[in-house]
């Protein structure tokens, strides 16, 4: 390590300190300042943090093997020693760049989007806090520290989903959405905790380098224990990255402000699960069963969510299900050992999905100032239409994002998705078929969305009076659009810039050659899907009160997709739902069982609570009876154990 590199690594703590300082400044003085200043401070903090991330990147360019930066001891218990150690290697720096780079743009955008909201200071405090936690997550050099970040981002997500806690269904809808996200996430967290426990039990350490070095020696390939550990890690990843069966929280999470949806629920936090698996790739390599499970879960999530997205009317819910679906692509990729492809898609997806969410936010923002404020109407694509003329910039960037997501060459999404498909072609045909179908559905629902929102005539008063958003919002959109166009250049077939770069951390050797058949099939299917969308929505633009033509074409399937395969209702109503509806779902009985079990759990807890509450009678005589019963019980336990 030369002196200059060392110097640059010395700046590493600033990565956290800037957002931390930003949030402290806002907490301390938020009440006294003019509101927009909070946004400016938070954005500068994020921007400075991005600069630090770039410094780390430059340092790594000089010697890409990475380093571990230790800032002090944290936990020293028995044989366990967990320092405040941070891993600066090609994988973590890539994540840092994505988090801080996209984060900065979204902070800037949020200045405009949240302008005038009374809680704007609180909003930026949470956003900066999120950055700190997310950076901790991606740069930790051991599992416990990663877990701190993991919990931190979960907490921020909870706080931000419920940001407008007083809105939503019945006045508590948003708060409930937040709680749902939190609880579902905790189920996943439990998996992560137990995995850490097992690792420590077996290896006596939780530092990444040591764990990976010892794991290969301690665990034979496919031994039950390593399978258990990796499956528990998978559970954790499934919770954070919204995979089957834990994906139900993400669509509801759209109750948060749109910049939050873009930053946390599309570009960064939800990819933490992918990062976790990629980081633990050494462990997964030892458990082929788990790898197959990972790729199958990813692929089926990709397909399931894509079908649901085709039949949504809420502009943000389409994107939410699309995010779940794309996360499924990434999970499938890393499950097949195509880590570079997965991370590559993670990056390009961060570009174009952040773009799409922010552009959707721009649409909502434009409509909001048209007079309406009911969020349901504001986000209903049936009430939009004809926004192309009224919001030209938003339209242009949205189109870019949509094409990138649909996988039309030469936009970013084409290259990354193609790598995943090519990997699947080699590894597992079932996965390949599911992913290809999902890609087809993706191109279709994006086409449908663009036509419904921007083309044709305005279908409501609100849409007529819509107007373009201010520059503070459109400029980040333009930058993201540019990235969505050229992002594919990161890992061009044959050049593999990203592949070589990540290879320093993830191991060299996996550089997929370009598969012309796969690429051509994917492109043709995407074009076909866009054509189909044009045929349905473009030839005869939807009238003001017309129903979606897809309703007749798909019949009951449309209802199925529209209702999200009823996964949510199953969780809501359990087995109370009429059997006619359930019959359509029975083909996917595993989900039904999951939903039933969860419902039963909630029931049991509620029933148990109710029964227990009755035992707290407040009657003195009854309380004394408790003591006598306790005496008998304990005596029996001692006597007969």
């Amino acid at each position: 390590m030369d002196a200059l590199q060392k110097l640059m690594f010395n700046f590493f703590p600033l990565l956290f300190l800037f957002p931390l300082a930003g949030l402290l400044l806002n907490v301390a003085n938020g009440r006294f300042w003019h509101k927009p200043i909070a946004g400016i401070i938070a954005s500068s903090a994020a921007g400075l943090s991005f600069v630090v991330a770039i410094l780390q990147w430059v340092a790594l360019l000089r010697q890409p093997d990475g380093t571990v930066i230790i800032l002090g001891t944290w936990l020293q218990v028995g044989t366990l020693n967990v320092p405040f150690a941070f891993q600066v290697d090609t994988l973590s720096v890539t994540m840092m760049l994505v988090v801080t780079g996209i984060g900065t743009l979204i902070h800037l955008y949020a200045i405009g989007y949240m302008y005038g909201d009374p809680g704007v200071t609180r909003f930026f405090v949470y956003l900066n806090l999120f950055l700190v936690a997310m950076l901790l997550l991606v740069s930790a050099a051991n599992y416990p520290l990663l877990f701190v970040g993991w919990e931190g981002v979960g907490l921020c997500s909870y706080l931000l989903i419920g940001f407008w806690f007083d809105r939503g269904e019945g006045g508590t809808g948003n708060a409930n959405a937040g709680r749902k996200a939190f609880v579902v996430n905790r189920v996943g967290d439990l998996g992560l905790i137990l995995a850490m426990g097992l690792l420590f039990w077996q290896l006596g350490t939780l530092t990444f380098d040591d764990v990976f070095a010892q794991a290969t020696a301690v665990f034979p390939v496919g031994s039950p224990l390593i399978v258990a550990i990796t499956l528990l890690l998978l559970l954790g990843a499934a919770g954070k990255s919204a995979q089957i069966p834990l994906f139900i929280w993400l669509p509801d999470a759209m109750a948060g402000p749109t910049p939050v949806s873009a930053l946390i629920h599309a570009a960064t936090m939800v990819t933490a699960g992918i990062y976790l698996i990629a980081r633990s790739h050494v462990l997964f390599a030892l458990a082929p069963v788990s790898q197959t499970a990972v790729s199958l879960i990813g692929a089926s999530t990709a397909l399931l969510a894509a079908t649901i997205a085709t039949a949504q009317f809420d502009i943000k819910r389409v994107l939410a299900y699309s995010t779940i679906s794309q996360l499924g692509f990434m999970v499938a990729a890393i499950g097949m050992g195509a880590y570079v492809a997965g991370i590559f898609h993670l990056i390009t997806h961060a570009f174009f999905k952040a773009l799409l969410f922010l552009a959707a936010g721009s649409v909502i923002h434009g409509l909001e100032h048209g007079g309406h404020s009911d969020p349901v109407t504001l986000q209903d694509m049936g009430q939009m239409g004809g926004l192309r003329q009224r919001m030209p910039i938003t339209f242009a960037v949205y189109l870019v994002g949509a094409l990138a997501l649909a996988g039309i060459p030469p936009l970013a999404g084409f290259f990354s998705k193609d790598e995943i498909l090519a990997a699947a072609w080699q590894a597992n045909r079932a996965v390949y078929i599911m992913l290809t179908l999902a890609a087809f559905a993706t191109a279709f629902y994006m086409g449908r969305q663009v036509w419904l929102v921007f083309m044709g005539e305005a279908r409501s008063e609100t849409a007529v009076s819509a107007h373009e958003s201010p520059p503070i919002m459109t400029i980040p959109l333009l930058i993201l659009a540019a990235l969505a166009i050229v992002g594919g250049g990161l890992n061009l077939p044959g050049v593999h810039t990203l592949g070589h770069w990540l290879g320093h951390t993830l191991g060299h050797g996996e550089l997929l050659s370009f598969n012309a058949t796969v690429a051509l099939t994917a492109t043709l299917l995407a074009l076909l899907a866009v054509g189909l969308a044009y045929w349905l929505y473009g030839r005869h633009p939807l009238g003001a009160a017309a129903t979606d033509p897809l309703t007749q074409r798909l019949g009951p399937l449309f209802v199925l997709f529209n209702q999200g395969w009823w996964v949510n209702e199953m969780v809501e109503w359990g087995i109370k739902r009429p059997f006619c509806h359930l019959s359509t779902v029975l083909a996917h009985s595993d989900e039904a069982i999951f939903a039933w079990a969860e419902r039963q759990l909630v029931h049991t807890v509620q029933r148990g609570t109710a029964v227990l509450r009755r035992t707290q009678t407040g009657q003195l005589n009854w309380n004394v009876a408790g003591i006598i019963v306790g005496l008998l019980l304990i005596w029996l336990l001692l006597r007969f154990s």
Binding site: V27, V77, L155, F165, N623, G626, I627, L638
Partner: protein, 495 residues
């Protein structure tokens, strides 16, 4: 004979109590408060001396006739928590007491309670254990019903008194059985002499139940939510933070002496712990009053401590005892802070405007903007209790989890997995409270809330800092928890 320094740990507060009462009665409440505070701070001096002697592996003991008091790692840990919390609570209560009749009794009782708890932790025979236990209990009854004008306080006090007395009589009966069977009450002698017999087994059960009433083992817990919710907030902090924990220490001492009688008592602790965690959490879920919710959460936290200690007793894993005692310490600070913060809000929103209804969770809405310091402190305490890293509560739960995993016994791993699950469950009631505090809309009471005096804010700030510090550098208290853990294991290790 040289009187060792540590005896002043007990004498300072115990002799100080009547002094404080007299000063308050004859001179002024203000002076009494400062006397109490000074005495408690002065007690840190003998603590430091004791600590040093202990670190040099000297036997720190004092005999008066046949009664011997001896310091070990557990006593040091308990004393440290008492000496941290009590002065902060004297300070905290200063403002609320002004004008209340009987304020001089309050501080005197606080001192007496602190002194008797320290005495309890140093007792070396069963009867003294009971006696100190009883002294602690009597002072705590009086503190719980401090607001004797309030019917709810009286109700809580009556239930607490009756159940607690039943418990203590059962302990005494157990003492009698032990005496009848083995002819000695000294813990060390018992450890060597006791052999399995039905009478001693019955004594074990009586100890478990008798002390169990104080620790609020389910189903002996019914008094706790009433007493801890109705007591003055400073007292709630002490009751939840340390008083029930001293009951746990008493139980450990008594059971450890009779280890030869029943080798499975570790398993008993684990099972009781599991039930406590579950029932406490389930009962906390539907609560609408802040302090009552916190009280139920104490029941579940006792469960975590029992889990850690149970692991240690069952497997001889020192990490488990260390984790259990660590959780005792962090829970004392966190729950103390939670009650102080909730009490400060209760004061600002209700009591200060002469409203004596309990504080509900809904009324917390928006309080974060009116009382930022208290709200942040409450948040830290709640998230810490819920086990969110990197706060102190996570560290101690984590240590218990590690101990369970490290024991490599499937049963123990099952118990810690259950504890982790319960920790998840508990967030279902902590998190909404945090959310409520930082809502944008202020509830009606928050809008009319009074400002809080410095004497309330300062202890809250100090405790919050302590929690964050311990969370980031748990190593700071490792020597205390390690000492306590080793002390427990050395007692039961030679079975």
């Amino acid at each position: 004979m040289v009187i060792p320094a540590f005896i002043w740990l007990i004498w300072l507060p115990l002799l100080g109590a009547p002094l404080v009462y007299l000063v308050g009665r004859l001179l002024s409440g203000w002076l009494a408060r400062w006397t109490a505070l000074l005495l408690l701070l002065a007690a840190w001096l003998p603590f430091a001396a004791t600590w040093q002697a202990f670190a040099r592996h000297e036997t720190v003991a004092y005999s008066l006739g046949q009664v011997t008091l001896q310091v070990d790692g557990v006593s040091l840990l308990i004393t440290a928590v008492i000496l941290t919390l009590t002065p902060l609570i004297v300070l905290y209560s200063a403002h609320t007491l002004d004008g209340a009749d009987g304020s001089e009794k309050y501080n005197a009782m606080l001192l007496a309670m602190g002194g008797s708890m320290i005495g309890l932790s140093c007792a070396t025979d069963l009867f003294n254990l009971w006696l100190w236990f009883e002294a602690t209990a009597v002072t705590s009854y009086l503190l719980v019903v401090f607001y004797h004008q309030q019917p709810a306080s009286l109700e809580a006090g009556v239930k607490y008194l009756v159940q607690s007395v039943v418990g203590s009589v059962l302990v005494l009966f157990g003492v009698a059985l032990v005496l009848a069977q083995s002819g000695t009450l000294s813990l060390t002698a018992l450890r060597q002499q006791a052999t399995p017999s039905p009478l001693l087994l019955a004594a074990c059960a009586l100890f478990a139940v008798g002390f169990g009433v104080k620790i609020a083992l389910v189903p002996l817990h019914t008094w706790l939510p009433d007493a801890h919710a109705q007591a003055p907030s400073g007292i709630s902090a002490l009751l939840s933070g340390i008083v029930i924990e001293t009951g746990l220490v008493a139980l450990l001492r008594a059971m450890a002496a009779l280890t030869a009688v029943t080798h499975t008592w570790g398993l008993l602790l684990l099972m009781l712990g599991a039930v406590n965690m579950l029932v406490g959490n389930l009962l906390a879920l539907p609560q609408t009053q802040v302090k009552r919710l916190l009280a139920f959460s104490s029941i579940s936290h006792i469960g975590y401590m029992l889990t850690g200690l149970g692991i240690a007793v069952t497997s001889g894993e020192v990490l488990g005892a260390q984790g259990g005692f660590f959780h005792l310490l962090t829970h004392g600070l966190m729950k103390g802070l939670a009650f102080l913060a909730a009490g400060a809000l209760l004061y600002g929103l209700h009591t200060a405007v002469n409203d004596h209804t309990p504080l509900t969770i809904a009324e917390l809405s928006g309080s974060g903007w009116r009382y930022p310091l208290v709200a942040v402190a409450l948040t830290l305490a709640l998230l810490g209790l819920g086990g969110i890293p990197p706060l102190a509560g996570f560290m101690s739960k984590w240590q218990i989890l590690l101990a369970g995993m490290g024991s490599q016994q499937p049963v123990l791993m099952g118990f810690v997995a259950f504890a982790a699950l319960n920790s998840v469950l508990s967030l279902a009631y902590y998190a909404p409270m945090v959310q409520m505090v930082f809502r944008r809309e202020m509830s009606a009471v928050v809008q009319n809330g009074r400002s809080l005096p410095l004497t309330m804010n300062l202890p809250i700030l100090l405790l919050a800092l302590a929690i964050v510090t311990i969370g980031l550098w748990p190593g700071l208290v490792t020597r205390l928890t390690q000492g306590a853990g080793t002390a427990l294991l050395s007692v039961i290790g030679n079975q």
